[in-house]
C-alpha cells in the first residue's frame, strides 16, 4: 500500500515537472495538454474518491508552486473535479483496473470543468477580500444552510431519509 502511495506521489511530482517544463515547449498558442489531470483521473478511477481528492489537492499545490501560479487555484479546481470523477470509480475493479473508452470521455469533461473552475477562481479576484467573502458569504451561510436542512429530519417521517 505504501509502495503504491509512493509511486503515485513520484509519478505526480514527475508529471508536474514535465507539465511546467517540456509541455510548455510544445504548447501551441498556450494550448497544451494537462498531464497531471490525466494522471489524477487515472488514480481516482483506480483507487477511489478519497485518495483521488487528496492527491489532487497536493498535486494542485505543487503545480501552482512550480508553475508560479496562484497557489491553491489548481488544487481547488482539481479537488472538485476528482470528487465528481470518484463517482465513476468501481470498487470491485481495483485489482484489475483497465482503461476503456470511457476514460478519454471522462478526461474531456473533467478537463473542461477543471479549466472553468480554474478560470473562475483566478480571474479578477481580490485575494485580500477573498477570505472575508469566503467566510461571510461562503462558509457561514453554508453551515447555516446545512443546519437549516436538519429541519427536514423533523418535518419528514422517520425513515423517509435514510443513510
Amino acid at each position: 500500500m505504501y509502495k503504491d502511495i509512493l509511486i503515485n506521489i513520484l509519478l505526480l511530482f514527475f508529471l508536474t515537472i514535465i507539465q511546467v517544463t517540456i509541455i510548455e515547449l510544445i504548447a501551441i498558442n498556450q494550448i497544451k495538454p494537462d498531464l497531471v489531470l490525466i494522471a489524477l483521473i487515472y488514480i481516482t478511477l483506480r483507487e477511489g474518491q478519497i485518495p483521488g481528492i487528496i492527491y489532487s489537492f497536493f498535486a494542485g499545490v505543487i503545480l501552482d508552486i512550480l508553475g508560479n501560479g496562484i497557489i491553491g487555484s489548481n488544487s481547488f479546481s482539481k479537488v472538485i473535479v476528482m470528487f465528481v470523477v470518484g463517482y465513476f470509480h468501481d470498487p470491485f475493479s481495483i485489482t484489475s483496473f483497465r482503461i476503456d473508452l470511457r476514460f478519454p470521455l471522462i478526461v474531456l469533461i473533467s478537463a473542461i470543468v477543471d479549466r472553468i473552475l480554474y478560470i473562475f477562481i483566478t480571474l479578477s479576484l481580490d485575494f485580500n477580500e477573498l477570505i472575508n467573502l469566503m467566510i461571510g458569504y461562503g462558509i457561514l451561510p453554508a453551515i447555516f444552510t446545512a443546519i437549516t436542512s436538519l429541519l427536514t429530519l423533523i418535518f419528514t417521517k422517520r425513515g423517509a431519509i435514510s443513510t
Binding site: I53, G72, S75
Partner: protein, 271 residues
C-alpha cells in the same frame, strides 16, 4: 455523542475531506499575496529556473526555427527603420543649420526644397520648389547653411532652376578670409581650383575663401571653398591650389535663396 460523531465522520468522510480540502485551497488562494508566501515563490522560481535550464536544449530544438524566422523579420524591419532614422537625422541636421542661418540674417531669404538634381560634367543644376511667387528673381544667389551654392538661372511661378558653382563655365573672384589673398575660383570638371594666387602669397591648408568685392555675379563675403591641398609647380608663378566647397553640394536637400540683390550675410562655420 462520540459514537455518533465517529459514525457521522465515517459515513460522510468523503464530503468532510472535500470540504476541508476546498477550504484549504481557498485559504491558500487568499494568502497568495501575503509575505509568508514569498519564500515559497522564490524557491519555486529557483527550482523552475534550474529545471528549465536542464531542458533548455529541448527549448532550442523546438523553437529555433520559429525564433530564427521571427528574428530575421525583426532584423529586416529594424534595418528599414534605421535607414529611415538616418535619413531623418541628416534632414533634421540640415534644416537646423539652415534655420540658424535664417535666424541670424535679415528676413530676405527664402527656404526652399531641392526637387531634382541634374549632374553633368560641364554644369550641375538643381530644381527648387520656389519661384517668382515667393520673391525669387533671376540671378538670385543660392546658399547652403555654410556658404555659396550657385545662382538662379531660370524662374517660373513655383519652381526655379539653380546653376551650381561646380560648373565649368563659372569663374568666381574670391579672397582669403585670413589675409585677403585674391584668386579666381573655377571648377575643372572634377574639383575646385583657386587660380592666380601668387607664389609670394600666404596660403595654408584649411584657409577659407569668400566671394570678393570684385565678383560680378555673387554678393561679397560669402564663403565658397576651403583649401584642401597646395602645390608649387616648378617654373610657374602661381600656386596650384585644390579646394573643397564649404557646403556639401552632393548632399543638399534644402537651400536658401536671396530675395534681395544686396545682401549681407553672417555665416557660422559648422563642420
Amino acid at each position: 455523542m462520540i459514537f455518533w460523531i465517529v459514525r457521522f465522520i465515517n459515513l460522510y468522510r468523503q464530503y468532510i475531506i472535500l470540504a476541508l480540502l476546498i477550504i484549504a485551497s481557498l485559504l491558500l488562494i487568499s494568502i497568495n499575496e501575503s509575505s509568508s508566501i514569498k519564500p515559497i515563490r522564490k524557491f519555486s522560481l529557483v527550482l523552475l529556473s534550474v529545471t528549465k535550464s536542464f531542458f533548455s536544449p529541448l527549448d532550442e530544438i523546438f523553437h529555433v526555427k520559429s525564433d530564427n524566422e521571427k528574428l530575421s523579420r525583426e532584423n529586416a524591419e529594424l534595418l528599414i527603420r534605421n535607414q529611415m532614422l538616418i535619413k531623418y537625422k541628416l534632414e533634421n541636421d540640415e534644416l537646423k543649420k539652415l534655420l540658424n542661418f535664417i535666424e541670424q540674417n535679415p528676413p530676405s531669404f527664402v527656404l526652399s526644397k531641392v526637387l531634382v538634381k541634374m549632374y553633368d560634367a560641364t554644369g550641375n543644376k538643381i530644381v527648387i520648389d520656389k519661384g517668382y511667387e515667393n520673391g525669387i528673381n533671376l540671378n538670385s544667389t543660392v546658399l547652403g547653411y555654410n556658404g555659396l551654392l550657385g545662382k538662379v538661372t531660370e524662374v517660373q511661378k513655383n519652381h526655379s532652376i539653380v546653376s551650381l558653382i561646380n560648373n565649368t563655365s563659372v569663374r568666381i573672384s574670391v579672397r582669403s578670409l585670413r589675409n585677403n589673398t585674391l584668386g579666381i575660383l573655377a571648377w575643372d570638371g572634377q574639383k575646385f581650383k583657386v587660380y592666380n594666387v601668387n607664389k609670394s602669397a600666404d596660403v595654408q591648408i584649411g584657409d577659407v575663401f569668400l566671394t570678393s568685392d570684385f565678383s560680378t555675379i555673387f554678393p561679397s563675403d560669402i564663403p565658397v571653398v576651403k583649401v584642401k591641398s597646395i602645390a608649387l609647380p616648378e617654373g610657374l608663378l602661381f600656386f596650384d591650389i585644390t579646394a573643397e566647397p564649404t557646403v556639401d553640394i552632393d548632399n543638399i536637400r534644402y537651400v536658401i535663396v536671396t530675395t534681395e540683390e544686396k545682401i549681407k550675410t553672417s555665416f557660422i562655420f559648422q563642420d
